[in-house]
Subunit: 464 residues, 2 copies
């Protein structure tokens, strides 16, 4: 069809369009008319701001246009003119308005503000609202910024598998994937389900992490990252948990914990800068209407060095605040969100890396420190969220890794491929995981993970 100029192009390059005829297409946000002319506010999905259209009764379908409902789609041909007296900077004086699609009277998105809870019930329409235009544009830009960051630094993007026959971290709570008929699955002689007749001839699950697969590629390409969906069948109905979410997991050979922290810090700063530059209108909206102080906080992060503190020292600092906590802190305990937020919001007042956790509360593959008690782990905590990144240097020594696996009762045969990496040209290496949705919540100030995922999957909820 004919070429359409976007509202973004008009806003970003207005000089180029002033006084010229343009054609735009979009959806009606509001219409008001008087006897001989009317105003139509148009949104075309390319830009956060709307475009005002003025139309006069000289156009044939003046009455039809004035009767349009919110949500209708139109094509407008007209001339862009400045409006120095008005709130908006310019408008289009319409020569022609064609109705592409009407909007039925029961259109659920009227001009008034709707609650986020209500909008969750219409996930197919909510991207048309200001809030979700902003959220999902920032989500898209953030994804791209992450790819750019890693590609510019020579990282290879790896698609690790979603369906897996193994359980990476022994994380439990996985979704099973099957083509067997649950009503009447084939059974072996002893009555158990016969997985040799399942699609993959064995029991399979949805992945909880691509890390172990990612490591195999890091030992070939040196610098790799994954960016894909991961799954948790956790029965936790909170504002921070989803059953399906996206993760970014970089992994670097010839890298230690210090390199890992530098990479994580550089990545977060890069992403924040990118979003602030590419989506100023959206970020300003979040700052104004969702989370007062957001812009100061993000600008502060970009311009400050992240703090560093060992777990042992962090526990000492937190113990001074124990009267404020629901769960008291003591060496050996896992840090709760309340502790993490106290560290980053009150004690450090900026993002902070906590390093060298007790080995008992961390995964088997983390590099064992000489003290015999801690591992070379790092969590990055940020104000407002708590943990946003978790990572570690990996144990690269074959014997030490095997011994730890035995202590934890892991089956050697399930990890042969992983042990092979320590057998054939092992290297110091390190990596981390960034929860993509947590990152979006952090960037936008949105408080519920359901509002940063296009079609969220949570306990008891799998709509559309």
């Amino acid at each position: 069809m004919e070429h359409l100029t976007t509202v973004r192009e008009i806003y970003r390059d207005r000089e180029c369009f002033l006084g010229k005829e343009v054609q735009v297409g979009g959806w009606v946000r509001s219409v008001r008319d008087s006897k001989s002319f009317g105003f139509l506010v148009l949104h075309d999905g390319s830009f956060f701001e709307t475009l005002q259209i003025v139309y006069e009764d000289k156009i044939d379908n003046f009455a039809e246009i004035s009767r349009l409902n919110v949500g209708a789609s139109v094509l407008v041909r007209g001339t862009l003119v400045l409006t120095p007296q008005a709130k908006q900077p310019f408008e289009i004086q319409a020569e022609e308005i064609r109705v592409e699609g009407a909007s039925a009277p029961d259109y659920p998105l009227q001009k008034k503000r709707h609650s986020l809870e209500y909008l969750r019930t219409i996930s197919h329409l909510r991207p048309r609202t200001n809030t979700f235009q902003a959220v999902f544009r920032v989500r898209s830009l953030t994804a791209y910024a992450i790819h750019r960051f890693f590609q510019e630094r020579g990282f290879v993007y790896v698609h690790t598998p979603l369906i897996t026959g193994s359980d990476c971290e022994g994380a439990g709570e996985m979704f099973q994937v099957t083509t067997l008929d649950l009503n009447d699955p084939p059974r072996t002689g002893d009555g158990a389900v016969d997985y040799s007749q399942d699609f993959f001839r064995k029991m399979t699950n949805l992945t909880v992490s691509g890390q172990l697969n990612g490591e195999t590629f890091a030992q070939a390409f040196r610098k790799i990252y994954t960016f894909g969906p991961t799954f948790r069948a956790e029965n936790s109905n909170t504002t921070r948990h989803a059953a399906e979410f996206w993760m970014i997991e970089p992994e670097v050979a010839f890298a230690d914990l210090e390199d890992n922290m530098e990479l994580a810090e550089a990545m977060l700063k890069y992403v924040i800068r990118y979003v602030l530059e590419e989506a100023p209108e959206e970020m300003n909206f979040f700052h104004t209407l969702i989370d007062r102080g957001l812009l100061e906080r993000l600008n502060h992060v970009v311009n400050s060095e992240f703090g560093r503190v060992t777990y042992t020292e962090a526990v000492r600092l937190l113990e001074e605040h124990n009267d404020e906590f629901e769960y008291k802190v003591a060496w050996g305990c896992d840090l709760q969100t309340e502790h993490e937020r106290c560290l980053t919001e009150k004690i450090f007042r900026r993002p902070v890396f906590v390093t060298d956790y007790p080995k008992e509360i961390k995964a088997f593959y983390m590099k064992q420190n000489p003290d015999g008690k801690t591992v070379a782990a790092m969590d990055c905590l940020v104000p407002g969220i708590g943990e946003i990144i978790g990572g570690s240097q990996r144990e690269e020594n074959y014997e030490k890794l095997l011994k730890r696996m035995e202590e934890l009762g892991l089956e050697e045969k399930d990890y042969e491929f992983y042990l092979d990496l320590r057998k054939y040209g092992t290297t110091r290496h390190a990596g981390f995981g960034l929860g993509f949705e947590r990152c979006i919540m952090y960037l936008t100030g949105m408080g519920n993970i359901r509002d940063v995922i296009p079609f969220p999957r949570t306990v008891n909820n799998c709509e559309l």
Copy 2:
């Protein structure tokens, strides 16, 4: 740890490093030594080519280095010097070589060439070989090129859900996702499995397409694309089918079939150009060792306009070749790969769009043409592969869409959200799906889909 210069930096910017001391880290591809000096060929994963290291018996660990097995990892400090007499353009004269990790004597990747079949059995090590270095770097670059293409054009990247309660195209053959205990699932009064006790309180599957969800975002942002995994539980053990693969699905509001073809053509050309520019060494390797003629073919595609032919006309042209086909062509039949390849390789000798297929062989959502027999579908066929892209203009008319759904026995209640899009500001719109793996096969000349996926999932195969 200390900064490492990459082999890529040295090759791309040699002037900058000549005569200077550098430190590199990587894996040994081969070692040979004489009495007082030796050569070590190093690959560091950053670049397709290797780097030669010369070392002399003045270094302390001369004997240790000379005994290194293929696959060992080392850190080398030395000076870059030109070697005008030799095969390679330069080498490093080592001052120091530290062994990072030895490689056990049973390392499976020796210097000889291994078959692709054998390498499939060691998917954790095969990325270290030349072929898979090339494949997976091109895969990474292609993914990035696709993101760049769409982001530069203002498309919003949408993560459509993987776990779904609905079956988009009625495509059948889906994987079920469940947390029920298959050995003893809860049952309702009549003995059927009680899905109200499953994680999402209903039966759920892995998605076969994000299109319908994508359309909801196209009606909000106008231009969107998805790029994520999709699944088919098809029992077909071929070189072109995988159970888990990635798809790109753009969708554009205010766009018709012509716009759709222009977008697809521009995207393919952009991606080919990007890969040829960014990975010349890898592409040359494919051209030389995998698929003679690859570069001519790709360059031809970049520089030619894609053909256009209606299905009806294509059938007429193909009927003249019916004696060559296993399956004879006649109007109404679905085109087989042999027909598609004949069209693109023999008749058009370039990529070709086939449009306006019989409605019976296409999905319910495609726009019905005025002839009452065909729909505004388009498939893009390319030499060597056949169909690489399938798309259509969508039926934007509420009544026509509903009528077609009724004809096909689809339940209106399962598609209420989709019908809503036609009720509230519907627009002409169109989109397509690109199978990412097919695209990589096309770009590299690799003949088996198992060799372009890091950890392929196919019938009876879900290793690592």
